[in-house]
Each structure stands twice: as structure tokens, then as C-alpha cells.
Amino acid sequence: MLSRTSHWLNRIAEVLCSVILLTMTLVVTLQVVCRYFLGASLVWSEELSRYGLVWITFLGGSIALKKRAHMALEAVVDKLSPKSRKMVQIFTLFTIMGFLTIATVKGVQLSIFNLKQHSPAMGVPMGVIYSAIPTGCLFMLVHAAEQLVTLLRTGPALEPGRTG
């Protein structure tokens, strides 16, 4: 159940982020084209792509967590015996989950506080944009929980993933 949720959340994040990245590329290019060839600047393009980057940071961060691609110093832990390495990983996962829980809760509050405020160029409620943070952190929380459960259920110590 948990692993299936984690799997599907990851699929959703991958598709969303890919769409956002492509849109940003086109929008920023369009911005140059409009300014130079049509002589008119777009007002919304910069804002749209900036907010896209915020979403990629947090949703993409969850993809990276799922793949265990977040950069870490592994040289010290690698020296430990498999058993103690597993203990250390359980401890760090708990710490990360505690942090993510706080970030999610505070992120939800921040989003709600800012629902009535609108972005200057596009007029989108800022709360919608801030919600990238709790959404991404919640996704990460699920992935971390899934890794923790796998670890507790007799699984051997997790191997680090690779960036890219």
C-alpha cells in the first residue's frame, strides 16, 4: 500500500515536472522572441517560469529522494558494518521525516495565510504557488516512510542512488 502510493506519487511528480520544465524553456525563449522581434515584452513570462522553478525544486526534490540521489557524504557510513549502517540509516530517516513533517505543516499554514494575496503579474493566489512546498515535502515524507518500512522489514542497508 505504502510502496504503491510512493510509486504513483513519483510518477505524478515526474510527469508534472517534465511538463513544467518544457513549458519554462519555451516561455523563456518566447520572452526573448517577443522582446526582440515583436518589440513587446511579455509581463507574465518571467513570473510563470520563476514559480515553475519553485515547483520543480520541491516536486523534483521528491523524485530525487525516491531515487536516493540527494548528495550525501557516504565515505564514513560506508566504513561501518552492515548492521550498524542500517541503524544509522533508520536514525537519519527518522530525523528527515521529522523535519519534513514540520515543513509540510508550516507550508500548509503559509499557503492558507496567502490565499487572498495575488501574484503581481498573473494574479494567481500566492497560496497556490506556496503550496509547492507542502506538496513536495509531503511526497518526500511518503517516500521516506516507504524507505523506512523497507528498512525495518528485514531489508539490508540501502544503497545510495546516483545523481542522473
Partner: protein, 428 residues
């Protein structure tokens, strides 16, 4: 302060991802300060990532991935081979020159190591080079990636220090070329012992061949000129240049070289997303950390302590150099830049350094750290490709490392090396 430092160090040593080390220790700091609403945490995370200049990061990463898949890397290596392949210890020089070219299309060191290494380490093995030597020169030459423009670390420094990214790009040109020359000198003299007899059989190619090879690589070589030229002429911002270079890489790879398969695209995008998110998530967390650093008035304290005990400007610079080299070996470059720029830049200004010059020093320093044993990431990647132990590559690395450090000292103490080109441009 002690809480932050302790929790950070412990978490780091336990193998917690660096982004979380930063976030969690910053949160611990916030809790310890007491009366600070925790809403600050998501708020600062947002502030840190909501940035137009930082948008250049995903674009340059994606452009690099597209160029790799579209056959541009191979053509750069081929062209480098035509240029210097026939010289003594030729392939070692090819490795450096190809990295130099590749540095013009990518802004990251690790990308350079894996792209050039996977092509050249096997080729060098075939010609009789020792694996440790080939792996070491691959790792060493990839330091040019983030120094020769475009450069992701320069963008991040520029955002953090509020400096012109265009000027920072320009500041990297001469230091990057110097690193290349220094590495080639080392390779030329030390590679000779390993390949006696091999390079003699190769002949210099004629002009015609060189021209046709150059034509093949021209579209790739044109990239950095296009990016820098466009930024300097004020046609587009670095971020816009990065977005256009994504389209450029796509068009060249797909329609000119015809090697980019549309089916590869989702995988390439996903790969770039992960690399981007890793960098950006560190930045998000480091923004919270940065707020604390400012609230605790750390820069002022560091300046007061240092300037009270050390009077010599040269000594302070040496200390900064050593400190950054140390940090660079075990910390990710982005994290180091975002956390340390606000602390060290005021100090650098205090002793009369230009922020652009200091950017070149900082980036060079941290990037050399990426290839410093025992923890530099590029060493891991390169020794992984070559299939040798970290100990072996570390030993082979020493002469290259010394050469890079020599360049670092030159760049630190001779401001003209980094400032000449930006000043020429700025005076216009």
C-alpha cells in the same frame, strides 16, 4: 551557534543528504532562538528558490544532456584529437582539450567527468596509458567545466553575492584556460613515460582534415561564443541564453547531426530534473540557513575575530584558500557557495578584494576540492568509469592537483587574471 554546528556535523557524518543536514540544523537553530515563528522555514525556502537567475540551472543542465545524447560530445573529442592527438602523450592532451571545449557547453564538473571519461578512458587504455593516469587526468580536467563559461557555480555565486553573472562568466575565462595549460604541461611530461612508442605512430593531420573536423565540431564550438556574445551585447540575460541553448542543442542534435532520438527525450528530461532538484533543494534549505547566519551576525563576528588576530591581507587570503579547499573536498559546491558567500564576501571586501575577483577565487577553490582525495566527487565518478580503486586514482592525482593549486594561487594573488576581461568589457 554550537547547536547548529554540532547537529550539522553529526548529520553530515552519518550520511544524511547535505540538503537535509542544512535544513535540519537550521531548524534546530531557529528552535533554539525561541521566539521566531516557524512559518519562516517555508517562507525562506520559497524566497531562496524564487529567482530568475537560478532558472539558468535547469536549462544549462538540460542543454548539456541534450548535447551529450545528440553526438556533440563525440565531435568535440574527435576535433580535439585532430588538433593535439599526434603530439607526445597525445591522448592525454586530447582529454584536456576536449574538456576545455566541453566546458564551453556545460557548467558542471561531474557532467564533464562522465561525458569525457566514458569516451576517452577506454581509448587511452587501448593506447597503453595506465588506468590511474587516465582516470586522474579526466577528473582533473573536468575542473574546467565550471570555470570556463557557462558555469553553474558562477550563477549561484552571482545570485548569492548579487553580482553580474555576465561579468563572473568573463572572469572565469583566463583562469580556466590557465588550468588547461597547466594540466597539459603535467600530462606532456609525465605521460611520456607510459606511452613511449605509441604516439610516434600517429601523424599530424593536414589542414584540410583539420578544417573538415572543425566544421563538424563548429556547431558545438559556437555555443559558448553565442552565449557570452548574446549576454554581453545585451540581447539576452544568462537565463534566457540558457533556455535558448536548450533549443539550440535540441535542433543541432535532432536535425543537423540526426543522432538525438525523440524516444530518449523523457529520460533525458527526467535525468536533468533530478540533477536540478538536487541543486535547488540544497539552495532552498541553505536559504533558511542563510537567514540564521545573518540573524546571528556571523559575518561581522568572523571579520572582527580575523582582522583582530591576522593583520596581513596575504595571510587572510591563504587562510580563505585553505579553508575553501578543505570545505570543497567534503561539501557539495552549491551548498558551500550559498552558505559561505555571505560570510566570506564581506571579509573579502574588507581586505579590498573585488567581488568578481573573489567569485573566481571561490569557485576555483571549491571546484578543485571536487578532485581532491579522499572525498572529491569527480574522483569517484572517474575511478568508477575506469574501474580502479580510489587509492590508485588519488596517487595519480597528486601532480595534477599541484598544478591546479598553483593556478589557484596565481588567480588569488594576481587580480588581473580574473579581472582583466570583465574590466575591459565594463569600461566600454
Amino acid at each position: 551557534m554550537i547547536t547548529i554546528a554540532t547537529s550539522f556535523t553529526v548529520l553530515l557524518l552519518l550520511g544524511t543528504p547535505i540538503a537535509f543536514c542544512i535544513g535540519i540544523s537550521a531548524l534546530a537553530g531557529l528552535l533554539q532562538l525561541g521566539d521566531i515563528p516557524l512559518l519562516l522555514l517555508p517562507h525562506m525556502m520559497f524566497q531562496g528558490t524564487d529567482s530568475f537567475p537560478l532558472l539558468a540551472v535547469p536549462f544549462f543542465v538540460l542543454a548539456g544532456a541534450l548535447m551529450n545524447a545528440g553526438g556533440i560530445t563525440r565531435r568535440l573529442v574527435d576535433f580535439a584529437n585532430l588538433l593535439v592527438g599526434h603530439v607526445r602523450s597525445g591522448l592525454a592532451l586530447v582529454n584536456v582539450v576536449a574538456s576545455m571545449f566541453f566546458a564551453g557547453v556545460t557548467g558542471a564538473a561531474v557532467a564533464d567527468t562522465s561525458a569525457i571519461g566514458s569516451v576517452l578512458i577506454p581509448a587511452m587504455a587501448e593506447e597503453g596509458y595506465e588506468l590511474d593516469f587516465s582516470a586522474a587526468i579526466t577528473a582533473a580536467s573536468s575542473t574546467m567545466g565550471p570555470i570556463i563559461p557557462p558555469s553553474i557555480p558562477m550563477i549561484i555565486y552571482g545570485v548569492s553575492a548579487e553580482q553580474s553573472i555576465g561579468a563572473l562568466f568573463l572572469a572565469g575565462i583566463i583562469p580556466g584556460l590557465l588550468i588547461g595549460l597547466a594540466l597539459m604541461a603535467v600530462a606532456y611530461f609525465s605521460g611520456d613515460r607510459q606511452t613511449s612508442g605509441f604516439s610516434e605512430t600517429r601523424k599530424a593531420v593536414g589542414w584540410r582534415q583539420l578544417l573538415s573536423g572543425g566544421k563538424d565540431a563548429l556547431l558545438a564550438l559556437f555555443m559558448p561564443a553565442f552565449i557570452l556574445g548574446g549576454i554581453l551585447a545585451g540581447i539576452f540575460t544568462p537565463t534566457e541564453a540558457a533556455a535558448i541553448s536548450v533549443l539550440y542543442a535540441f535542433v543541432v542534435g535532432r536535425f543537423v547531426y540526426g543522432e538525438l532520438n525523440l524516444r530518449q527525450l523523457p529520460e533525458l528530461i527526467k535525468e536533468s530534473l533530478v540533477i536540478t532538484a538536487v541543486i535547488m533543494f540544497i539552495i532552498a534549505n541553505a536559504a533558511v540557513f542563510g537567514w540564521l547566519v545573518a540573524a546571528l551576525q556571523m559575518p561581522q563576528k568572523v571579520i572582527t575575530i580575523l582582522t583582530a588576530t591576522v593583520s596581513s591581507r596575504w595571510l587572510i587570503l591563504i587562510m580563505i584558500n585553505l579553508f575553501l579547499l578543505l570545505v570543497g573536498t567534503f561539501m557539495e559546491t552549491t551548498a558551500s557557495l550559498i552558505i559561505l558567500t555571505p560570510v566570506l564576501l564581506p571579509l573579502a571586501k574588507q581586505i579590498g578584494l573585488d567581488p568578481i575577483h573573489f567569485g573566481a577565487i571561490m569557485v576555483l577553490n571549491l571546484v578543485i576540492g571536487l578532485t581532491t582525495p579522499p572525498l572529491g566527487v569527480c574522483l569517484f565518478v572517474s575511478s568508477g568509469i575506469a574501474g580502479i580503486s580510489l587509492e590508485k586514482i588519488s596517487r595519480a592525482m597528486i601532480p595534477f592537483l599541484l598544478a591546479a593549486i598553483l593556478v589557484l594561487l596565481l588567480v588569488t594573488y594576481i587580480p588581473m587574471l580574473s579581472m582583466w576581461i570583465p574590466q575591459m568589457y565594463l569600461q566600454r
